[in-house]
Symmetry: C2
Subunit: 256 residues, 2 copies
């Protein structure tokens, strides 16, 4: 039975897509069967996994809003055991359409119910907002993984995110918990990175992953080749860190 993980942070550009794609690739490499659900109309996870978002026939939007069969939309990737439910700008329509729909917050949860038995892990890439798509991701998820760029604005926004997770747990998804906060784009040359790390480890005791993802240019080059960094440059510091994260995550989760 799949564990559903939402990769969420309303702050933009903190490494949500990069984490969803590369952590999913690391878990698939370790033998898990993984589905990435692209829930961001930008379609970045779709492109990073080698699927052209401009030529989609069926996608997340159709499954979520019109009940299209999920297997019609699902695509395989270059990594065995790693599939993706792709999306593109058309998903923007869902945010407006969902407002007027019954049980609008639980659409994704209902959509994933028949898919869960087919995978070990379902990883949802959320858009940079706390709107209805992100609320759907939090309602459908068992756990939330929060990528946190080592910068001031990202740290500053953490409390609103934690508030939102508490609200969703209270009214929509009682089992929801934060699996961990992941420090991303950590730059050893930059004092700010160390300050943010100290700050977060102090305030969010025990929630912060031991694994830290370093800033590594190979990570930002890989999506232009439609590959996770583990395939593009399997021995760079970014790949090693995402593999380590995969192991740490499954160790932490085995305790639940």
């Amino acid at each position: 039975m799949a564990q559903v993980i939402a990769i969420t942070n309303q702050k933009g550009g903190v490494g949500k897509t990069t984490t969803a794609v590369n952590l999913a690739a690391a878990l698939a490499e370790q033998g898990y069967k993984v589905l990435v659900v692209d829930l961001d109309p930008q379609g970045n996870a779709t492109m990073a996994l080698g699927v052209d978002k401009h030529t989609l026939d069926r996608q997340t939007y159709h499954v979520l809003m019109h009940g299209a069969p999920w297997r019609d939309a699902r695509r395989t990737t270059e990594i065995p055991g790693l599939d993706v439910l792709p999306t593109n700008i058309e998903l923007t329509g869902a945010e407006l359409e969902l407002v007027a729909v019954m049980a609008r917050e639980t659409r994704l949860q209902q959509m994933l119910a028949p898919i869960r038995p087919e995978y070990d892990v379902i990883m949802i890439d959320s858009p940079p907002s706390l709107g209805l798509l992100t609320i759907n991701a939090l309602t459908a998820a068992d756990t939330v993984l929060v990528p946190l760029q080592c910068e001031y604005y990202a740290l500053e926004g953490l409390s609103s995110l934690i508030n939102t997770v508490d609200l969703v747990r209270g009214s929509l998804n009682p089992k929801l918990r934060i699996s961990g906060i992941l420090l991303t784009m950590f730059d050893k040359r930059n004092r700010l990175s160390f300050q943010v790390e100290t700050d977060v480890r102090e305030h969010a005791k025990g929630l912060v992953f031991t694994t830290v993802i370093p800033r590594n240019v190979r990570v930002s080059e890989s999506p232009s080749f439609g590959k996770p960094v583990l395939l593009y440059d399997g021995l760079c510091s970014g790949s090693l860190a995402y593999r380590e994260l995969g192991r740490e995550l499954m160790e932490r989760e085995s305790g639940y």
Copy 2:
């Protein structure tokens, strides 16, 4: 009569807030009277200008949605001639409330009408999405300034943004034009930065500002002190670049 500039890009973390705050500061330094309108519920521009978003009485939300007097919400900053209309997470409500309102795309345009005569420039910081708040910003604006991080996902998303600007020009705001595309966080050590620059200058001929904003850690440190980088470290490469951008923008705009 103010020129209204929307700082917009649906891609997250590309430097929208950093540009809105620091370009506004540079223009105020050059003697223009500038208002920053924070239209992002994250309230990052509010904090960067030294206003505590957690203790707001009146804010953008009340002026936009309930017709509160704008002077009640407006705050001054440490820089003479630079004011801000602050916001916080409460503005998230506006995105849902706007869906059902008459002429929902022109609310901000109507809100700014009485404010325009009081300033030379009104700078709108948009959230990372193409939802109703961003559409309001594009409808209210004379020009759009597009910050573009020198990375693959940011470049990849440019065409959807340009499409959206065309749609808004076609149906809501006939005068809307792109004042320029601004390359941000340019890193001379990184080949990807040069590739993106070459790519954009080739495809978006004439639209790309000559001024390029370098990656500079002082820029990312300054918001934690509630100051634009021009006040925090007035001679660092980030400050020099934003002053240069201010001059280039006003030169380009004087031709219209």
